[in-house]
Symmetry: C2
Subunit: 257 residues, 2 copies
């Protein structure tokens, strides 16, 4: 039997909000499985950019990353948030190891080619080093990845945290019984984002496509679910979207089929 | 025979100056021994603090670290500089792994008690996990430590990088033939800081005490040399202070006795 591995991605709003983050980290620490945490950056980067007078440009929910913005992402994601998460996990007895994709060359990416939009220093993943991540797990560490990768040529790259989580899950699936949980401020995918009771317990791909076409599922949820379905269709045992009341109990919206 | 391990600490002015940093990193990458890099923060933290309107308070060359200043140290040391160093080393084929003392619980510290001066979130080292660092080396990684530690209770702590380097060297000495190099902008300890030709090739402790009493060695060099002598007197095979023209050749000022 393959060992169980729980990969949890926490969203930006969770990182910013102790009332969401603290109980989530407690549940994460209590989980006896091997674990990996992946975190986004939240509003911290935007707030720091404002203070420093660096304009924030978003296109389709994605940050245009010029050199000053990349430095801000490095500071907030790889420095401030990553180390605060590691320190909080360590205080709970979880032997966390903070990582970017450059560390140990664990996530190699390439700069997204400039098309109609030039995203700047944004990276798309080329290769996850599953063996390297495995060595970290075997050494007793719980990897905590921030949303930074590199190109192996000395350039650091801003990379979507949902995609990092999904691609790590896919890379680890041949050797582990992987559960991938996208933890955010809602308890799962909702039919009506203003109604917490409208949670969809299981979402298959045809239902997803229908709901997306009807704009019931929209905006930021679309790329998250694209990543979730990619993982579910690539050998990841269980993929779910969950939140404060559904994370610890293994509930939320199961993504499949 | 014990394996050779080269621990290199690079000073703040080096981190800020590509003309010093780039050739130093090339020499570090070319060194066939097992290696650990430890880096200070340079002016980056002071510059970011200025931009953010956070006052910088220095006492005896040490930074008073209130909460806003700690966040800045996390951003600049653990984020910006650590990841840029890791990325540059990776580009040269060195499998660097960026770390704070919180990561893997490798450096446990305690908050310095407030005496006449309250240094704030500054940590003094309680324990180096030599076995954990060893596991990183055995996994094929080159650890790159920034000057941040933690107390195991969820608090991150600003910690002197010279001290981190010296204490890692001491902790690794029972199992490795350790060379500890303090790399800075001068080529070694100088009799006259304005005369590069006045390099002291070997400095023993009685000569150091005499030169310190005569104020020939002074200010920032004193704590660096205290750390260097502590390492030399605790089983570290070779301790030296070196710079641009003396690092690669193994020269500089040898600290001993």
């Amino acid at each position: 039997m393959r060992p169980a591995l729980h990969i949890v991605k926490i969203g930006g709003k969770v990182v910013d909000e102790p009332a969401l983050l603290t109980p989530m980290l407690h549940a994460f620490i209590s989980d006896p499985r091997l674990k990996i945490l992946v975190h986004g950056g939240g509003k911290g980067a935007t707030q720091l950019a404002e203070k420093l007078g660096v304009p924030t440009q978003m296109v389709n929910g994605r940050r245009i990353t010029d050199e000053a913005t990349l430095d801000i992402a490095l500071m907030v994601y790889a420095g401030l948030f990553n180390k605060k998460l590691v320190s909080a996990l360590q205080a709970g007895g979880c032997n966390a190891l903070g990582l970017s994709g450059a560390d140990g060359n664990l996530i190699l990416a390439h700069k997204r080619p400039a098309g109609e939009i030039d995203y700047g220093w944004v990276g798309d993943i080329s290769r996850i080093d599953a063996a390297g991540i495995n060595r970290c797990l075997e050494a007793g560490f719980t990897p905590v990845f921030c949303a930074i990768t590199h190109d192996g040529q000395g350039n650091l790259l801003n990379t979507n945290a949902d995609t990092i989580a999904a691609q790590i899950a896919q890379a680890m699936a041949p050797n582990y019984d992987v559960e991938l949980s996208f933890f955010f401020e809602k308890n799962g995918v909702l039919m009506d984002t203003n109604n917490d009771q409208s949670l969809i317990p299981i979402l298959n791909h045809s239902a997803y496509q229908r709901l997306a076409a009807e704009h019931i599922i929209h905006t930021g949820m679309l790329p998250k679910l694209e990543n979730a379905f990619a993982a579910a269709q690539s050998g990841v045992h269980l993929v779910r979207v969950c939140g404060p009341d559904t994370f610890a109990s293994g509930m939320g919206t199961e993504i499949g089929g």
